[in-house]
Amino acid sequence: MQFFATQLLNGLTAGVVYAMLAVGYSLVYGILQQINFAHGYVYMFGTFVTASLITSGSPLWLAIAAGLVAGAVIAIVIERFAYRPVRGNRLAPTVTAVGVGLIIENVAQLIWTSRIRPMPFPFQADIIRLGPVVLSPLQILVAAVGLAMAALLWVISTKTDLGRAMRAVKDDLATAELMGVPVDRVVVTVYVLGALFGVVGGILYGAYYNTLSVTMGFSGTLNAFTATVIGGIGSVWGAFAGGLFLGVLQAMVTGYVSSALLNTVTFTLLIAFLLFRPTGIAGVQVASRP
């Protein structure tokens, strides 16, 4: 039971990180029906900026801010030069996304090399004992930040002009433009929001596991994409649910079966959802009468 509780906590922690990343996919897919395969690499790059600044002695807040800014700037540049010119084309944005992702990974390798590096963070050595369960303060931080980010997203999406505009563009991009909504600006904002969520997820990941590698862009992409599909691509709440579900499932497989099976389980799940439930757990379709 104690082992189960520990694995559950580990799984939920990883799940929050997946959820942060998955939100970025869902936001973009929801509006443009594009799978932003560069997203995982943007999150990796931002996280590395933060990690290298922490290592070089910058204050924590500055390192985190710089990582977030780096993620946002890369998202803006990619949107402007790799996505906007081919918006509306079914295939081209997916191809440019993969290409841009590889470029980001190569640049990251040039700057930081491909060796695995630590990411020092406060509380990494501390533990809290709650009866038989051993907890890290960082697990509490991950959960708290995850909840805060979910709340933030809810507020943005339901209470602000931007959120309304995002949902309107999702429903009908052309008509949103006719209503005077600056669609290009809304789309850029969506990419930036996605990147910010991703980098927050990456920093939480680095802080909790204290290990980073530039290849995490690829693995992050795959896990978060799977989480997005499980949750229902296009639904940000589904992305949260899918992230938590995948995190817990992977922790259980690692704990009770073998970590060698992780990818097998993950991809079997991805394929099963794509085949049998492509709308995911939360996939909602709004009926529209003429």
Binding site: D161, A165, L178, M179, G180, P182, P290
Partner: protein
């Protein structure tokens, strides 16, 4: 073809609110509009009539800026706006009632109205603006929190009107507002158009229902194969032989 003086006596003099000057639009090799010129004066209802594929919808897209003009110019109050992007054009004071109503289906009626106010002078809708629209369209009062996608066609058409009017535009362009509605609702649509006119808002309306459109219009253009083949006051247009044969049906 009726000359411009007819237009001025029917409406106003001075600078038109919106003017299309010898506009042509090509879709690849297909020419959708050829040397089309329209003038809409403040507070005037101008009808655009014509059969299928005559260039009516392309005219609307040209005004809203969602299609690119091949030749010719567009002016708003004398200012050149030919290359201006859609949101900036809308912000000048144009409201749109799109063909097929085009609700933001997952947004509530209230959110649709708030979205409509985006390009308004104030940026977003005040509670006064919302109240004004609900007074103008009382059936929407009980539907404000309903997703607009589940409303009936008539209700959606009212949302589409309110969404265009809430930003207090100087011109509303409407693409087939009566299409697909029951006869009683079609009558209501044209009452609303007259109500809009009484508020000194100009209307540019594309309609299949030529007879109804001519009843409310101050001026009308008739398109065929992408060209203006007839224009003038409703009397002139309604009695032109080509109209009585083609659109209005022969009357004894």
């Amino acid at each position: 073809m009726a000359d411009c003086s007819t237009h001025q006596t029917a409406g106003q003099s001075g600078t038109p609110l919106l003017q299309l000057d010898n506009v042509s639009v090509n879709y690849g090799k297909f020419r959708a509009l050829t040397d089309v010129s329209y003038k809409i004066y403040p507070g005037q209802i101008v009808a655009l009539l014509g059969g299928n594929a005559s260039g009516k919808s392309t005219s609307m897209k040209t005004i809203s800026g969602t299609t690119t003009v091949t030749a010719g110019e567009i002016f708003w109050k004398g200012e050149l706006i030919t290359r201006e992007p859609t949101p900036a054009r809308m912000a000048r004071g144009i409201g749109v009632v799109p063909e097929g109503r085009r609700m933001f289906a997952s947004l509530t009626v209230l959110e649709n109205l708030q979205l409509g106010a985006w390009a308004g002078s104030k940026g977003s809708a005040t509670s006064d603006d919302i109240a004004e629209m609900l007074d103008l369209f009382p059936p929407l009062k009980n539907l404000v929190n309903r997703p607009s996608g589940v409303l009936s066609g008539g209700e959606q058409q009212m949302v589409a009107f309110a969404r265009a009017l809430i930003r207090h535009p100087e011109l509303v362009i409407m693409d087939e507002p009566s299409m697909g509605l029951a006869p009683a609702l079609v009558k209501r649509v044209f009452e609303i158009i007259e109500e809009i006119k009484s508020r000194k808002i100009a209307v540019f309306i594309v309609e299949q229902n030529a007879r109804a459109a001519l009843r409310v219009a101050d001026y009308a253009y008739v398109l065929a194969a992408g060209q203006v083949v007839l224009e003038g006051t409703p009397d002139v247009v309604a009695t032109a032989p080509m109209m009585t044969e083609a659109y209005l049906g022969k009357r004894s």
